[in-house]
Chain length 435, copies 4
Amino acid sequence: MIPRYSRPEMTAIWEPQTRFQIWFEIEAHAADALAEIGTIPKDAAKKVWEKAKGVTFNVERIDEIERETKHDVIAFLTHLAEIVGPEARFVHQGMTSSDVLDTCLNVQLTRAADLLIADLDRVLAALKTRAFEHKLTPVIGRSHGIHAEPVTFGLKLAYAYAEFTRARARLVAARAEVATCAISGAVGTFAQIDPRVEAHVAKAMGLTVEPISTQVIPRDRHAMFFATLGVVAASMERLAIEIRHMQRTEVLEAEEFFSQGQKGSSAMPHKRNPVLTENLTGLSRMVRAYVTPALENVALWHERDISHSSAERMMGPDATVTLDFALNRLAGVIEKLLVYPENMQKNLDRLGGLVHSQRLLLALTQKGASREDAYKLVQRNAMPVWRGEGDFQSLLKKDEDVKKYLSDKEIEEQFDLAYHFKHVDTIFNRVFGAA
Amino acid sequence: MIPRYSRPEMTAIWEPQTRFQIWFEIEAHAADALAEIGTIPKDAAKKVWEKAKGVTFNVERIDEIERETKHDVIAFLTHLAEIVGPEARFVHQGMTSSDVLDTCLNVQLTRAADLLIADLDRVLAALKTRAFEHKLTPVIGRSHGIHAEPVTFGLKLAYAYAEFTRARARLVAARAEVATCAISGAVGTFAQIDPRVEAHVAKAMGLTVEPISTQVIPRDRHAMFFATLGVVAASMERLAIEIRHMQRTEVLEAEEFFSQGQKGSSAMPHKRNPVLTENLTGLSRMVRAYVTPALENVALWHERDISHSSAERMMGPDATVTLDFALNRLAGVIEKLLVYPENMQKNLDRLGGLVHSQRLLLALTQKGASREDAYKLVQRNAMPVWRGEGDFQSLLKKDEDVKKYLSDKEIEEQFDLAYHFKHVDTIFNRVFGAA
Amino acid sequence: MIPRYSRPEMTAIWEPQTRFQIWFEIEAHAADALAEIGTIPKDAAKKVWEKAKGVTFNVERIDEIERETKHDVIAFLTHLAEIVGPEARFVHQGMTSSDVLDTCLNVQLTRAADLLIADLDRVLAALKTRAFEHKLTPVIGRSHGIHAEPVTFGLKLAYAYAEFTRARARLVAARAEVATCAISGAVGTFAQIDPRVEAHVAKAMGLTVEPISTQVIPRDRHAMFFATLGVVAASMERLAIEIRHMQRTEVLEAEEFFSQGQKGSSAMPHKRNPVLTENLTGLSRMVRAYVTPALENVALWHERDISHSSAERMMGPDATVTLDFALNRLAGVIEKLLVYPENMQKNLDRLGGLVHSQRLLLALTQKGASREDAYKLVQRNAMPVWRGEGDFQSLLKKDEDVKKYLSDKEIEEQFDLAYHFKHVDTIFNRVFGAA
Amino acid sequence: MIPRYSRPEMTAIWEPQTRFQIWFEIEAHAADALAEIGTIPKDAAKKVWEKAKGVTFNVERIDEIERETKHDVIAFLTHLAEIVGPEARFVHQGMTSSDVLDTCLNVQLTRAADLLIADLDRVLAALKTRAFEHKLTPVIGRSHGIHAEPVTFGLKLAYAYAEFTRARARLVAARAEVATCAISGAVGTFAQIDPRVEAHVAKAMGLTVEPISTQVIPRDRHAMFFATLGVVAASMERLAIEIRHMQRTEVLEAEEFFSQGQKGSSAMPHKRNPVLTENLTGLSRMVRAYVTPALENVALWHERDISHSSAERMMGPDATVTLDFALNRLAGVIEKLLVYPENMQKNLDRLGGLVHSQRLLLALTQKGASREDAYKLVQRNAMPVWRGEGDFQSLLKKDEDVKKYLSDKEIEEQFDLAYHFKHVDTIFNRVFGAA
């Protein structure tokens, strides 16, 4: 997480002040429940809210205390006592730091997930708009980087739309994975704290109760969360690379928006580079990188160890801030993408009709040629075209063996572009729903 | 995937013969649909089934053809034609190899997922049985490897049960991710094949229709699948490491079953090592390793490239066979685990009551001590115990400042073990459901 | 590791028979040293060699014994005793299984490294031949996929040559990392075995002595080994992707050799796909994937645990066999690569001289324009060319502000291709050494 | 990289001001060389140094310019022109941004490597001091977490010393990998810049010349660099985990220093947790995580793309700052580690002599028992000891079959601790050199 690749909405979630506010809410709600049950005086719980609600905590002061105690939650509680006064001794009764830390982390992760889901909604909206705009804009489909058969640019975007719809569903599931609260005390037995406190805090913080915790909330939940972020980042990379390919000089079917005053290269003034999508490719690598430590964080020792903590302090913000920034950048790229239908058509025409080879193959088999023979007939007329030795349609018309099966007119019919788009509506209905 | 760490049920899914059988089924079902629609003669579709259903394909022959054509699906189709005869030319009409390959891979992955889910059921059953057996067997809970407060061995297993319940739910979701079928032809436009063929094959093979494919089924699905396997493996590692810790010489609270004739060490005849759970730790590393290439496989170029294929040929079997073997080994370890309640009790008593320090802390605060003061009072009586300088309870009873708040009797009451287990039923109900 | 992506030279290293042969050699050499020192009778050592040297061990029998003892080295020693007779009791004296297993693994890894180094030599030879062949074949250099300035195809190959020279040096270093022998007995103290045995075996097996082992040879060595393989695989991927880019339909500057009878697509007979380099891209992902478990294998518990073993049994063969296969495939691709200089020239001319924009920029600054002004002047004449609105040279000649600094002749001079190749010799000398 | 886990020495390397200072030096040295060659006026080069040397650049101003130009190097050069005046137009002549950026990154990485090497020297010094201090302090060696045979605590530290000596050598090699300079202009052909400029800048910046660059310095170098950091982090994790194990309540053979005022747990005042080494375990996971994106950064497209840049902006600082902090923390842990020889002895005695089982095995075979028989004899007397059913030595003395081979006195001789330490000097000499 570095300022260059951060949005304030997401970094705010990870600032110390936010963390302390969440800690306060957890402690104050827990105090309410403790008071309701009768463990602590009702006045004490009330006083906590009165004195500290809305207060901006003094981060420097908390840091100062932590330097002595070497324990962040104790430092916070000590500072809270400075604000609340003697009633503060009723705070955190029967709780352990993990109750606060883990529940707070999950609040932060669910808030982060909410932003990421909103990011995806922006990406999805952009994709949908542009997909319908180019629903029938022909462009060559490529497999292996080689011209295959025609598709439309709208189909390319519909494909991405379907993938990001899955990404969104996965993020919703990942959010649910980590939307749990544990207030179960040392080693999670509720020995010192009534389970009703947990239920109360969970509800107040918008979480569900963790069925069984061992002081820590189990890290398989977080592994699943970060793994899901990695998969979303991988989908983002796919789309970014598609655009990079389309902007290649020889292809130039689409291009990132290039603003006035922008410089593509310090040395070569003619350059217009796909720097945003290259940037997204690199950011995807980082978001994916955090999956590995998240998986390694699962196997804590016995009821808990704290090895996950240092890793999470880094990758919690790093993964969410980076992905949030990247998804917004991606949405902007799609929204403003320059699309060049003429270039698409020019590229489509490039192979002199070779892209219709399959239709010829099928026409021949339907007329009685064996698949093997048909394949050979088509291939022997296709290869000279690659070498620049003639036009596919003319070659076929001159091939005596082909003529045994197909008339000139039948050959011509196989070169019709519209033939390929007859099911675009069907696919759009599948992806975007019926009109 | 190596024989040493494989079970035949899972390796069978990945054998060439199985793959060819699935290819055959896909092609034959597609032929049915093509015939129904009227694209090919009904007799042709019928003939395909008649001639090839139940046939054991000649893998060597297919390999031989592939050496010439350098294309596996064409090799298979050529061999199929040798079996079916001239009607074979109607097979694969309008389809592309990816239609067969990707749908087949998804059939294999869903079958693999079914086995893995069954494996988890065995693990869950073992955990449940042993959890109830030791529901109230006291054992010290440890945080940071240091004695914290008492838990029960049943709680440890209940914790694992809850984690593997989540693992199961994730596997079910992962199975759904890859249970799709695509028969959409070159670049996925259905130009050469009617979408009804896809719908028919999907249903016949127990899959759902892929809403939009681009010749390939999108690899974000598979990334999610392998990422989920990685998370399951991480949970397995957590439980394996718990057992390794419990078997340590100084702890020896539980032990892997050690059979007659088994040798722990070639050099040291006294050894009984937790080799099975160490083995599981290593196997978990491998299953987790495949997450990275699965994430890298997502960003294929344009409508498809084939870079994913070589990686999947390796990690498809490697990840599923290894996890299947490991989960079965884990189930066996749990089922036969030797548990030593006396050692658990001995360890629990080791710190001379120090593990009750929190109860003292709370008792002091409830009697009016500030949290800070109470902490210092308890800590100053705890530290000499670590140094072997006395017994915690006796030290407390002699501390003049403690005596201001607590009588001897009140101090004694804080050392009651049963106090810690009063919510075990609550937790078991949460995890296993009401009795 | 699967047969499809394996060469027999490398798989042979990992076969059970090879492993048992190496075990035998270690044990027999150790027996020699033990006899020399006087720990065991000289006749016993001699008998071991006489009876078992050159013998093909019975792998099934060893497996059978292991099923009872659950210990592979003991199983082997038992079988060895069946061959050698009573003198076998002097074998393995004071040794522990790890002495045999770890030294054997390192023998296997050094043999694997030797093959990989030979593979790189083949790749290097191919690159050098083709680099000199195309030393002055012009091709556009691309940054961001966008035309930048001219280079030569020979430079592209020289670049790869330099990278694989580094790869080779790294492999030599990685080989040295794992070329160690440990015969230090239980927990590595030499309590039961004289250090001279280790020195003797090390020398006999072509290894150096591990300065301090703890029963196991430290796994940071192996982590470094597999990490190096990962870096080599990454370099391989870079070259593979370069070729995939060059074979794209719109670029088509080079192409993988396409043999008679080969089929690019089962559906589209016109296709010629870069399937070998796509395959290498996927294989690179796998080889890189093993870096993570290798890093996780380092932190064994105390003097040793056996968690690394299961991971290594898989990734030892998987990583080396896959990389060996891939490097050979890569060498073949380079050796037979079809190169199309005409297409290179055609692409180079595509932007109508825009690729000379930097030369114009420098010419303007040398005539007194500020860098900022020069940049703007060039850029404003370049952008219309992208939009197809004219030719770069003509536009410049018409620009009044450009004319203040440069005459028509001076403008024309900036469009000279040879200008870019004046240092090709310098670079070739750096990479390949002076002629 | 977060403040909590950062040292100012390392973060300083990555601050914008440092980066701009390095950029300035590269540009100014290049200007010197350009002037020497005669490309630009000597006065201009002189003026650049005079006006800008020692100047603190205005980071906000540069950021402001970058917001317009969207190009960081151009923004810097524009700001430099504001400081230097009209002569600034001679700066950067024939260079491209990558010349500056990549050479700067390598300067930063070599400086980072220097700090990391110094960190390792501190770790090594601490290990050596403590190793000699405890050269003959007996402690049980453990394999699989199970008591094996005695070692000394000095040996454990000597082992780590040897491993970190290797780590140091690897870092020195990794530093050399990235200590290169490229000033080769667009696409690396030196078309616009004389190779002598590169040679001059390389020497002035303490680097070597990159033999062939393609505008970018090849990223296999950086992959190797970050992979090496990952291996060093793995070694650090190994030592951290060793200490965590030794501090476990049941073991307590060593303990992290616990300062006055420190709190182990907010809830349990008796706790003293190995929080520093747990922290190091987590930090190791992060440093290792960056290996994957570093490997993915190698395969840039054609002569360069900029996907590596965003990843490196994050992981450059993240990996080096985190490892630097962690190694210093590790050194502190070792320097102040509390060691408990009495507990080591107590644990050593725990198995009632079982740890001498191998000596018995060897004694029996030397008296003529077959290895198989000897193993069974020892094992059958060892197993009851595990079950608490007697003392190993007494059981052996009562075993009729044992008595056939060994007298009581011979049995007793096998229980001598000193026997195990006879080669400690040999090993120390190997690791630390002769006294």
